[in-house]
């Protein structure tokens, strides 16, 4: 059936089977392969996308259910081709990943956290990412990345002299 999706601020129409997950539709029909398939039963979080700004597991949502919602994938996070967001850059700074497979989901989850909480505590960060499994890092450098991004985002709007300290 035909579905109209708003993905990364772009309207697209696709023709999908009603049983097709949002995950498969993003990957197969829209070729947005930054969204990764992990467990396909809603535990690992590798397929996390934002639906109306909230992290959602794309393997547990049907493509037809997302009609009319705003969907953000990892491809929609960079401000421009070749230019990273503050959060993406922070993950690079602390090496908050190894194989990179859980990374898009992890970053979208962290992005959603920072959208609603600009000064998250360590516990709040740990809590926010607890639904995203990373087998490589033990989470240490991921938490550091989110802390670092929060700090940079907070300071970005401070007067220049203060920010330079």
């Amino acid at each position: 059936m035909k579905v109209e999706l708003n993905v990364n601020d772009r309207m697209v129409e696709i023709d999908v089977e009603p049983r097709k997950t949002l995950l498969d539709a993003l990957r197969d029909d829209l070729r947005l392969t930054g969204t990764h398939t992990g467990c396909e039963h809603g535990v690992c979080g590798a397929c996390t996308v934002l639906v109306d700004g909230a992290p959602v597991r794309a393997c547990l949502m049907l493509a037809v259910q997302s009609d009319g919602h705003e969907i953000t994938t990892i491809e929609g996070l960079a401000p421009a081709p070749g230019e990273l967001s503050v959060l993406q850059d922070a993950f690079c700074e602390t090496h908050g990943m190894q194989c990179g497979y859980c990374t898009p989901g992890m970053i979208l989850t962290a992005h959603a956290l920072l959208q609603k909480n600009v000064t998250p505590s360590r516990e709040e960060i740990v809590d926010a990412i607890s639904g995203n499994i990373c087998r490589c890092t033990g989470y240490g450098q991921i938490v550091e990345a989110i802390e670092f991004a929060a700090e940079r985002l907070a300071r970005a709007n401070e007067p220049r002299a203060a920010a330079a300290e």
């Binding site: 990764h36 990374t103 499994i133």
Partner: protein, 799 residues
């Protein structure tokens, strides 16, 4: 070590990891992202029985279903291919990608369905009718060794694949001389690394060129060799594309059976075929479970805590087929005494088949389970003598002035300073205060315990265990390579000849080249040619790439530098021996210099200015042999790996006695892997290794019931540590350079994982010891702690 005398410019500095940029943008290129025109998809039909004869397979309904192109059975596939390779000399244990005549574990692939989409293939797989005749099965390893046991492979005549005993030193004398001895059994549960990306492969056959192209999520030495052998095609007709990002592996992404299956289908159907495991296929039939091992250990020790000798029997349940997994009993021989001066060892290695999923290489290749057994022995000696566990370790440590230190099984440890690393951890954690904190928690009614573990990470991945366990195998090299090309405009491109699963090999190589050539690593391009354009590599196994790829890059860069100096000296009119190289320029003794751009110009365009006999262009290659490797075993002894990193763990755990849930309150690890090439990468490996070790110690198990059914088939049952379970870990660094590597580097790919299970187990046992109970098998589940503690408390109350 032949490190430059100058301080490092790039090595050991906190430079960014270049691979990260593509990953944060979602631009990694994983196997599932590779879509070829006309590609077909595979779904598998799996056996629901742990052991059953396959009477017949009726594919007619499946073949009639929408979009279905083929249904392949084991019989068909076996007729067209050779069996997959066994590591040991066990020719009657035949293995094919699909079961032939008999299914040998629940979940084993019996038939493959190929369709236009994965969904259609799955639909049709449900329509394949298999008529089974169930036969007796066995899942318990000791039962499988009994005389009346059902045989997993009747043709082999026994379920035992390997039973080999080594005597290194005067074990009997040391046991009779020592004042004390103790015996115990510990069990390492069946778990694995379970990467978030399942295994996947895309295969394409070009009938005109007779060429097989393969894209796979692979970490496997000699992968294409095995595909070529099984498919009976020349190796130069197998082209594996190595520019595929692997979404985690930690040893398990071997995928030979998947690849042979997909390649055969691509060849027979004339279209590209993709096989990506779903999570269920991955967990029950990806043939990627890790060791499941019973250790029976005896140690002889003196009243002062010195351990004289050890007898260890390791019995490993490898599952239904003999792959490379039995060698996981061999690698730990290279560090069989851990960091201790144990004088003699008797080691019996038994590898036994059962009707369980097949075992594959897992991070550490059997070393972490062995370390768990050794460290339990040390804790038990301390408990028996009423001594502090730290003190017992100190009394047994190899001293820093004893290196290189020859252990009884034939490996010479390269270097280390165990006392200093332990002292740094004791200082960082404040051991005295930690004991007070533990006792304070106990006073509050919690169970609290301290865990300690010290162990080695043998690194530099050699394969000496192959000839040691299989006399027909004469492998004495496990090389790796690097090629550098400086193009006509002076830009540097280097090659690596393997896939990577997050280890940062592009960063490693560019850092090493930048260091030697004294140019910015960011300017160096790293590429991964396909296997037909590649030099030999044995892939990133056995914590080897910092040593082997780093070493090959270093040596290739040195060769390139020699060429540059020769060109420059010739142009400057001085002897090459008198000229020196500095940051891309060649300088004569009189101070005259030729810059990089001109050196490149001469090499690429001005043949008349080249030294006589020199070939044009600027290219250097190095194929590196494993340091200290090259010899076959003698008398059951062999030099295993060249380098030995050291780690010392100390942690405090608190357990609510009613819930039984352990909470790690403090965790410090001391880590010495020699010279660190990229601190970010080593830190990540260590923290990730500890998280993985925590999973093995407390959460993760591929549990089976008596009927041979795998109980943990999803992430609801197989528990992966989340950010809630993994504690904040503090790392204390120390650097004892290895004398055998170019910068003094050692391996770190298994760090943390090798000691964490032992340390966590030790902490939990310390917490419950006063109740008269102990946990001797991993994982130590919350439910087991809660139940055992409740039972023990009731007994204590009654008394």
């Amino acid at each position: 070590m032949n490190a430059p005398s100058k301080p490092f410019r790039f090595v050991s500095s906190n430079r960014r990891v270049r691979e990260d940029r593509r990953f944060v943008a979602g631009k990694g290129r994983y196997v599932a992202d590779i879509v070829l025109p006309d590609m077909l998809h595979v779904a598998l039909v799996a056996s629901q029985y742990p052991a059953a004869r396959i009477v017949s397979i009726d594919s007619s309904q499946a073949l009639a279903a929408d979009g279905v192109h083929a249904v392949l059975t084991g019989e068909d596939l076996a007729a067209a291919t050779d069996p997959l390779m066994n590591g040991l000399d066990t020719p009657r244990v035949k293995r094919y990608p699909l079961a032939v005549d008999q299914a040998r574990y629940s979940g084993e692939w019996v038939a493959a369905v190929v369709a236009d989409s994965r969904a259609l293939a799955e639909d049709a797989a449900e329509l394949v009718r298999v008529d089974y005749d169930p036969v007796a099965h066995v899942v318990d390893v000791e039962e499988a060794m009994g005389s009346g046991s059902p045989l997993v492979h009747p043709a082999h005549g026994t379920n035992v694949l390997l039973d080999k005993t080594f005597n290194w030193g005067e074990v009997d004398r040391h046991f009779s001389e020592a004042a004390h001895q103790l015996d115990f059994r510990v069990t390492w549960g069946r778990n694995s690394t379970v990467p978030i990306e399942t295994f996947g492969v895309v295969a394409q056959w070009d009938p005109w060129a007779e060429m097989l192209d393969v894209w796979a999520s692979i970490q496997m030495p000699k992968y294409s060799d095995q595909i070529a052998r099984a498919l009976r095609i020349p190796l130069n007709k197998v082209r594996v594309h190595q520019d595929v990002d692997v979404g985690g592996s930690y040893g398990v992404k071997r995928g030979i059976k998947h690849t042979v299956l997909a390649a055969h289908l691509a060849r027979t159907l004339g279209r590209p075929v993709r096989l990506i495991e779903d999570r269920l296929e991955n967990m029950r039939a990806g043939d990627a479970h890790g060791p499941e091992r019973i250790f029976d250990v005896s140690v002889a020790y003196e009243t002062d805590g010195r351990i004289r000798s050890m007898k260890m029997r390791a019995t490993d349940n490898v599952g239904a087929y003999a792959g490379r997994a039995p060698f996981q009993l061999g690698k730990p021989i290279g560090a069989i005494v851990g960091p201790y001066r144990i004088e003699s060892v008797r080691y019996q290695a038994r590898s036994v088949m059962t009707n369980k999923t097949v075992q594959e290489a897992v991070r550490g290749f059997g070393q972490s389970p062995t370390n768990y057994a050794i460290e339990t022995a040390v804790d038990k000696v301390a408990a028996a003598l009423g001594m502090d566990r730290l003190e017992v370790r100190r009394r047994n440590f190899i001293e820093s002035d004893q290196f290189p230190y020859l252990i009884p099984s034939g490996t010479r440890y390269d270097s280390g300073d165990y006392h200093t690393v332990a002292r740094k951890v004791v200082d960082a954690i404040d051991y005295k205060a930690l004991i007070e904190e533990r006792d304070r928690l106990r006073g509050e009614g919690l169970l609290a315990g301290i865990g300690i573990a010290s162990c080695l990470e043998p690194s530099g991945g050699n394969s000496s265990f192959e000839p040691l366990l299989n006399e027909k195998n004469e492998t004495t090299t496990w090389m790796d390579s690097c090629r550098i090309n400086v193009d006509g405009l002076g830009y540097v491109t280097a090659t690596i000849h393997t896939t990577s699963a997050g280890q940062g090999h592009e960063t490693l190589t560019s850092t090493v080249l930048g260091e030697v050539l004294e140019i910015d690593p960011e300017r160096i391009q790293i590429v991964r040619p396909d296997t037909l354009s590649s030099l030999p590599s044995n892939s990133p196994v056995g914590s080897r790439m910092a040593i082997m790829l780093g070493g090959a890059a270093f040596k290739a860069a040195e060769k390139l530098k020699q060429q540059l100096v020769a060109i420059g000296a010739h142009r400057l009119g001085c002897e090459a021996d008198d000229a020196r190289y500095e940051a891309g320029a060649v300088i004569a003794p009189d101070g005259k210099r030729i810059e990089w751009a001109e050196l490149v110009n001469i090499a690429h365009r001005r043949y008349h200015d080249l030294p006589p006999g020199m070939t044009p262009g600027l290219e250097a290659t190095h194929i590196m042999q494993v340091p200290t490797g090259g010899k076959l075993p003698e008398d059951g002894r062999v030099q295993m790996y060249p380098c030995h990193s050291f780690e010392f763990h100390m942690l405090l755990v608190a357990i609510d006695p009613v819930l039984g849930k352990p909470e790690i309150r403090r965790y410090v690890i001391g880590h010495d892997c020699g010279t660190v090439i990229n601190p970010h990468i080593v830190k990540g490996m260590t923290l990730g290794g500890i998280a993985h070790g925590l999973g093995a110690a407390l959460l993760e198990e591929f549990a089976y019931d008596a009927e041979g059914q795998l109980l943990a088939q999803s992430f609801m049952d197989y528990l992966l540590p989340s950010s809630h379970e993994v504690p904040h870990v503090e790392i204390v660094h120390h650097c004892t350079p290895s004398p055998f590597t170019v910068f003094g580097q050692k391996g770190s790919g298994e760090s943390g994982y090798l000691g964490a299970p032992a340390a966590i187990s030790g902490a939990i046992n310390d917490a419950v010891r006063h109740l008269g109970i102990g946990f001797h098998s991993l994982p130590i589940r919350i439910s087991a702690i809660g139940d055992t503690v409740a039972e023990a408390s009731d007994t204590l109350k009654k008394d």
